[in-house]
Symmetry: C2
DNA sequence: CAGTATCCCAAGCGATACTG
DNA sequence: CAGTATCGCTTGGGATACTG
């Protein structure tokens, strides 16, 4: 089915996916975030673990700080000299579902036959963590469940009959 | 806290996030996927709507096909000549949570004051769709809930005390 | 309409060297 | 240890032109 031109009205710039992609779609960004979620906090540790050029890492961290995803802080361990660390902000933690959804996809479709390299569990009870879609009325959304996209308050586009995502 | 060197054992190559990032982290990829989810299926429509160079789009679609995310099919509308279309495979639909999680982040943190540009609803009941984290025993995972990462069957790294993601 | 081929050019990665 | 500055050099995007 040929989509009507209204789609043209949906500028990439006012799309939440596009805006998020602008941030996390940069090279290295997702891996930097992965390491931050995993508790790596120091510049040199990130640089070494990722084997990323230091100037690139510097730019990426700056972008994360500017986006409010990461906070740079000075701290001092007792008896040691001052150091700096990069720590996710609450906004940063809101990216966790993105990473976990990516991990779920990779585990399912891109993994060696022996199985997933990493298991993530709920620290409280040890249960495996899943990413689930649901609607506000509590219905589970299965992979093939139909979704509809409609213009929201900040929209610059008109409605179409198309589905799935926006 | 200084992470111990075991982290070095976690090659990026055997990380599900890294592998998924290799696919969807390429420039344009996320926007191509967004349009595919939204029902855009024809080469020229994608090229025009995204304002992407045609050769780049060609490469991206090829990568998606090779990854098994998209299937290229010939079809013919009655009375029309044959056309081709790109359609998400079931594996492709498994990327929907990634896109929706990105959208949720963008809606919350990167949106203009007037609100989100697009609303996604459960087609059955009209309820707004949310991305939720939960553990296998049904506990909700809030943004700040602690998670633990441990080596899985396909791991090439040793355990650490670190948390959150793998 | 649906691509592929070719070219040019800039962005930006990586390496290295340098400062607090 | 934690970065910034400089500098090639390559990758790869964009425009254009060309085929089924």
């Amino acid at each position: 089915m040929r989509l009507p031109t209204p789609w043209r009205e949906l500028e990439s710039g006012v799309c939440s996916i596009a805006r998020t992609a602008e941030l996390i779609g940069q090279p290295w960004m997702l891996l930097v975030l992965r390491d931050l979620f995993n508790g790596v906090r120091r510049f040199d540790d990130l640089a070494e673990h990722l084997s990323i050029a230091r100037n690139v890492l510097s730019r990426r961290l700056a972008a994360l700080v500017e986006a409010g995803v990461v906070q740079r802080t000075d701290y001092r361990e007792p008896g040691q000299r001052a150091r700096q660390e990069y720590r996710l902000t609450p906004a940063g933690w809101d990216l966790r579902p993105v990473l976990l959804a990516m991990m779920a996809y990779g585990d399912r479709h891109l993994t060696d036959p022996d199985g997933p390299p990493t298991l993530v569990d709920h620290a409280g009870c040890g249960g495996a963590v899943r990413v689930a879609l649901e609607c506000e009325y509590g219905h589970r959304i299965e992979p093939d469940t139909r979704l509809t996209g409609t213009p929201g308050p900040g929209a610059r586009w008109r409605s179409t009959s198309s589905t799935a995502t926006g």
